[in-house]
């Protein structure tokens, strides 16, 4: 990889430097567009609601951030619900990474009777709207006595079709058959092939799936809203959505402050995972 980057770099230098500048200009415009709503959220979280809805729009930060934080903490148990979110998102991410990558490894690199049928079934499952399952799932959870506990959020999410589909597509390209054959000749059994050959190669793919799963769980609010019946025992998104509805007129400054603060753990997870993901998404094991 290093050598190809080297050749690219030398080519760039004796190629057109102007094209490089135009390229970066276009990329920076893209970054600004991606980042702008975050800037806007910061602006909103530092103003009162009446300041937010004034004309012309405020483009610079105001002075009401701490006030917004205070009214946020007065209205919801911010850290309690944040702990619940961390518990759910953390456990689900761990379980999904394990179960999905294991299943994807099988689908990507092995042949067995019924494989095609099972994979088609998986793809159909992926397309079933979550709403189709919501009402009956609630009935089942109630029978199991899980309603109101985090188990109702963690167990059904512990493996998913999306992750298996993604990891399979990724593994098909990233794990070379020669490498697997070599490890088989070394006498590695299935689990060793999975653990010592497949996993190290697909780390960037796993990091991506991990971030994506954590995010999805962290930001999910439809199912937690239904399943967590005890108002003292909710996840952060549900707590935030309670801010949005109950008070008639919404205090946008406070809601935005909550949304921004709810982003902090995500950004930390992202920063940790991004290093893995960015390592090189397409890095193979054979150099």
């Amino acid at each position: 990889m290093a050598s190809t980057q080297e050749t690219r770099r030398t080519k760039r230098i004796d190629g057109s430097r102007r094209r490089g500048i135009g390229l970066h200009a276009a990329l920076v415009v893209g970054v600004l567009l991606s980042a702008f709503p975050f800037y806007w959220a910061v602006i909103m979280s530092t103003h009162t609601s009446s300041e937010i809805f004034s004309y012309p729009p405020k483009l610079l930060p105001g002075t009401h951030f701490l006030e917004n934080v205070r009214s946020l903490f007065d209205n919801i148990d911010f850290f309690g619900s944040m702990f619940n979110s961390l518990l759910v998102a953390g456990s689900v991410t761990f379980l999904v990474l394990f179960f999905d990558s294991l299943a994807a490894f099988v689908f990507a690199k092995f042949e067995f009777p019924g494989k095609r049928l099972l994979f088609v079934l998986l793809m159909f499952i992926f397309m079933v709207p979550a709403q189709l399952q919501a009402i009956p799932q609630f009935v089942i959870m109630a029978k199991l006595g899980w309603i109101g506990s985090m188990t109702a959020l963690i167990v059904p999410a512990a493996a998913n079709a999306f992750g298996i589909f993604w990891m399979r597509q990724y593994m098909k390209g990233a794990i070379h058959d020669e490498l697997l054959d070599a490890s088989r000749i070394d006498g590695a059994n299935f689990l060793r092939q999975y653990w010592h050959v497949a996993l190290p190669v697909v780390r960037p793919g796993l990091a991506f799936l991990g971030i994506f799963t954590f995010m999805g769980q962290w930001n999910d609010y439809a199912w937690p809203l239904i399943a967590l019946t005890n108002p003292d025992n909710v996840t952060l998104q549900v707590a935030l959505s309670q801010l949005n509805g109950t008070h008639g007129t919404t205090d946008y400054g406070m809601v935005m402050t909550g949304a921004l603060l709810a982003l902090v753990p995500l950004l930390i997870v992202f920063a940790i995972g991004a290093r893995q993901m960015i390592g090189d998404l397409a890095k193979g094991a054979i150099k």
Binding site: Y55, F112, P113, Q131, G187, Q237, Y252, M256, A262, D280
Partner: protein, 320 residues
């Protein structure tokens, strides 16, 4: 690599391989089935049974509390003639198309640019992925304020360059464009990162060969990059279709305060009422769980049909 530690063994093992009697059937494959079983077991308990129940439900009338009442196929008959359901399909597809095609185009362009940029590549990747990290609740609130008629940034900008205000969240096309913009913003960077992963699996020898044959950048893109990216493009298209056609949170949060009759109404004139919003409206506003289940099955059929069409289109293009 840990497996290489047992380097002395191979010769013996190699000799063993052809001698091993071929095991048959389940004994030979049990570990593979065991490895994929967690997903299918979970699906059985929390997927298949609920799905079966919702099928059962769709043949009944049920308000969620009282006894169920057999309704036969009448829910489905009504669904077929329900003009509101059909218009929600139209709304969903229009929003999906408005969001997906610009998104895939922009993502592809971004990925190709990122792939040829040498400096700051990692920084760009992080920046482009960020929109996807934020919760839809927060994004919808932000975009609601950006597209606000009197105080919104978009209209402030339009006025500054001499145009009239547009009531974005109050007109049929304005609503659709606002939702599609939100979705495009949220997913372009995500898909660009996926495309980039695909671009990097294209062997550089192919590009060298193309350059030697005198192919220009455009030719190279259509003859080499695009065909090689087929699995990734397929992934992006299928995921965009499945998630895009099931969009719910975006219109719900964005439009929940713009109409008085229901939080699931999809704004004035139901212009943003997607299929899933319609499902929620029928199920929870009308307490019509049986018809809601029938609507959900209708949604499922539309999503499957659309995904198959997309799948076929992408695969055929690759075969040429």
């Amino acid at each position: 690599m840990a497996t290489l530690r047992t380097l002395e063994k191979p010769s013996a093992v190699v000799a063993d391989v052809p001698v091993t009697r071929p095991r048959t059937g389940f004994r030979k494959y049990w570990h593979l089935y065991a490895a994929i079983s967690p997903f299918y077991l979970l699906f059985l308990c929390f997927g298949l049974i609920p799905v079966g129940f919702s099928l059962y439900l769709s043949f009944h009338r049920w308000d969620g509390l009282g006894p169920m009442e057999w309704a036969g196929l009448s829910q489905y008959q009504y669904l077929l003639s329900d003009s509101e359901f059909w218009s929600s399909i139209g709304t969903t597809i229009v929003i999906w198309a408005l969001a997906t095609f610009p998104m895939i185009f922009l993502a592809m362009v971004t990925a190709v640019m990122l792939n040829s940029a040498v400096r700051f590549k990692n920084l760009y990747r992080v920046a482009y992925f960020l929109p996807n990290v934020t919760s839809v609740v927060a994004i919808a609130i932000i975009f609601g304020s950006v597209f606000s008629t009197n105080f919104g940034l978009v209209n402030a900008f339009l006025q500054a360059i001499g145009f009239d205000q547009i009531a974005w969240l109050n007109t049929p096309w304005g609503i659709k464009i606002a939702i599609a913009t939100l979705m495009t913003w949220q997913w372009t960077g995500y898909n660009a990162i996926i495309f980039l992963a695909g671009l990097q699996t294209v062997p550089s020898e192919l590009y060298e060969a193309a350059r030697m044959d005198g192919a220009g950048p455009v030719q190279t893109f259509f003859r080499i990059t695009l065909p090689m990216m087929r699995p990734v493009l397929l992934f992006v298209l299928v995921v965009s279709t499945v998630t895009g056609l099931q969009s719910f949170s975006e219109p719900q949060v964005l439009l929940q305060n713009t109409s008085n009759d229901s939080t699931f109404s999809g704004g004035p004139g139901h212009a943003g009422r997607t299929m899933v919003l319609y499902f929620f409206q029928q199920t929870f506003d009308n307490n019509d769980f049986g018809y809601g289940a029938a609507v959900a099955w209708g949604i499922f059929l539309v999503v499957v049909l659309f995904s198959i069409i997309n799948w076929r289109l992408v695969q055929r293009r690759g075969e040429e």
